[in-house]
């Protein structure tokens, strides 16, 4: 049996404790916010409550798994900081999973077509998106993640006419991104993320490091040379 704590703060803040056994994956406890802007406040207390609910402690866990984004910088860092620090304190491995994979896993479970897109809100009128294949019931990343304006995502070219785009990013821009109705508000979530991580670990696959996928540079501008007064 493998027991993990999964955390994702790439959009909403969520956390879950999951256990993989002979009967499949069991969600022992879960937490999720609606809100996308309070991650530094809520993430660690949420983990404390999950531990309390399950009666588990760090020594009962085998790994910590964190969504590495893409996501808005400050919120994304809150989850990664919590995951890395818990891993350090508990002497546990900390693995990364690309956050859009969580939505892709749910999409596949709901019968996604052979090729589909996942999109989340990148703010500033842009979306994070990635192209996936439904590979006999598991999501396989084909391209991405990217950050672009919705109108610049070439949905028809990637999927053909009437293609399916999963996730809250599509729901925000229905004109450009032909959302799948049932997924029009779906955000990356720790349950899906953790489930996927357990499947990958069971297959002996390597997970990612926990480097954040910011996709954008910081907004800093290198100041130009000062104009000389002449």
């Amino acid at each position: 049996m493998t027991t993990i704590l999964a955390i994702d703060t790439s959009a909403i803040a969520s956390a879950a404790i999951l256990r993989a056994g002979a009967e499949g994956t069991e969600v022992l406890a879960r937490f999720a916010t609606e809100d996308t802007r309070s991650h530094a406040e809520v993430t660690a207390p949420a983990v404390a409550r999950l531990l309390e609910e399950t009666g588990l402690s760090g020594k009962d866990l085998d790994a910590v798994v964190a969504g590495v984004g893409p996501g808005p910088f400050t919120g994304l860092r809150a989850g990664l900081t919590v995951a890395r620090t818990l891993g350090f304190a508990w002497c546990l491995p900390v693995h990364g999973v690309m956050s859009l994979d969580a939505i892709a896993a749910d999409a596949v479970a709901a019968g996604a077509p052979e090729r589909f897109l996942v999109a989340t809100d990148a703010r500033r009128k842009e979306v994070y998106w990635a192209l996936y294949a439904n590979d006999a019931g598991t999501p396989r990343l084909l391209d991405g993640p990217h950050v672009q304006r919705p109108a610049d995502v070439v949905v028809d070219e990637l999927l053909g006419a009437g293609g399916a785009v999963y996730g809250a990013g599509a729901g925000l821009y229905p004109e450009e991104l032909s959302p799948v109705e049932a997924f029009a508000r779906t955000q990356p979530d720790a349950v899906a993320l953790g489930t996927l991580a357990l499947e990958r670990l069971a297959r002996g696959e390597e997970l990612l490091e926990t480097e954040p996928l910011y996709l954008r540079e910081s907004d800093a501008q290198v100041p130009g040379p000062r104009k000389k007064a002449l």
């Binding site: 530094a40 531990l51 860092r77 809150a78 919590v82 954040p212 910011y214 290198v222 000389k228």
Partner: protein, 359 residues
């Protein structure tokens, strides 16, 4: 919790330094600081997002290094302390997230404390300046790249803001001026060095907020009697450089640097002395990264001496932002019987100095 000699780990991430320090009671055990200063060089100033990214990468290695250096384990700690504000919001979030996670992982109490008061509390560490506790009639002059203020310290939980900058921090003014003069980043050390070759009286730069309408009188203080403003000074330096260039002359960089530094140091110390005098302050702690500036230390010492004020300056490694000061403050609060903060607190980028410890 051991309240007699608590073992506290402190985390600081309010600006561009990732600091982790460990103290036992009033004894400093370790003080690890990683700075992202080098990454800000090409921008000529601290870029909040770059600082925040660097905090994420530095925090776990800093925790590890501080624990090893102190020779203690997480299990042995009595508490975890963290800067809750004031500071850069995104930068604070990293330290706060790490501290909360440590508290959850270890079950240890968490203390969310005020960065400015921590600059004062560092003086409480043994072999630093106030080994026997805070003296009566204490004030603090904090001058750094992120903040600049003069405080009245009646007790470690009774701190009052007398004055502060209303725009740039003093250290920020150094950085901006250094950029104008083509001297690189950070501006403090290079301007301090170059000033020794220049004439501080060559150019009379303005001292911000010193006109009577801002100052008022001791009985009827104006709106900014003890406050500073450095944005006008920066503009004056820019105009000065342009005037030389317009005349086709090479600007006298050393003279400009020296005159700029004199303007900053003069107004900082003059207003601090005025605040001390009018609030019965007879002991002054100098803190913040700009305390490393030779001219600031010199003029503060001289003016304190002639005003009959005893000046205390901690070692520079404890004046710049660091985790040990955070741990030192929490340790004092624990010894005084303070209760820990709730795990749900939010960092506050403009935390008032009256809030020493978040509930």
């Amino acid at each position: 919790m051991n309240r007699a000699e608590p073992l506290i780990l402190g985390i600081e991430s309010s600006c561009d330094e990732t600091g982790v320090g460990i103290v036992r009671g009033g004894t400093l055990l370790s003080n690890t600081v990683a700075s992202s200063m080098d990454e800000h060089v090409r921008f000529g100033g601290v870029i909040p997002e770059i600082a925040s990214r660097a905090h994420l990468e530095a925090i776990v290695p800093a925790l590890d290094a501080a624990l090893k250096e102190a020779g203690v384990t997480l299990d042995e700690l009595d508490g975890i302390a963290v800067t809750a504000g004031p500071g850069l919001a995104g930068a604070l979030m990293v330290g706060v997230s790490a501290a909360k996670a440590l508290a959850v992982a270890t079950g240890k109490p968490l203390f969310a404390i005020n960065h400015l008061v921590a600059h004062v509390a560092v003086g409480l560490l043994a072999e630093q300046v106030f080994a026997d506790g805070l003296p009566e009639n204490l004030g603090a002059l904090l001058v750094s790249g992120g903040h600049t203020e003069v405080l009245r310290v009646r007790g470690i939980q009774d701190v009052q803001m007398l004055g502060s900058t209303i725009d740039d921090a003093a250290g920020e003014a150094y950085d901006k001026t250094a950029r104008l003069l083509g001297l690189g980043y950070p501006g403090g050390p290079v301007i301090d060095r170059l000033s020794r070759e220049g004439d501080p009286k060559a150019i009379r730069f303005p001292r911000g907020l010193t006109q009577p309408k801002y100052m008022g009188t001791a009985d009827e203080p104006g709106p900014h009697r003890y406050d500073w403003s450095f944005s006008g000074l920066k503009a004056a330096v820019a105009r000065c450089v342009e005037q030389f260039e317009a005349r086709g002359e090479e600007p006298p960089v050393a003279d400009i640097a020296a005159s700029f530094q004199e303007a900053v140091v003069d107004v900082v110390t003059a207003k601090a002395m005025l605040a001390c005098k009018e609030h019965g302050i007879t002991e002054l702690l100098l803190g913040g990264g700009v305390a490393a500036n030779a001219r600031l230390r010199e003029l503060t010492a001289r003016r304190c001496a002639s005003a009959g004020i005893t000046l205390h300056v901690p070692p520079i490694s404890l004046c710049t932002d660091n985790g040990a000061m955070v741990a030192a403050l929490a340790s004092r609060l624990v010894m005084d019987g303070a209760e820990p903060s709730s795990l749900d607190f939010a960092p506050d980028s403009s935390l008032p100095v009256s809030t020493v410890l978040l509930p």
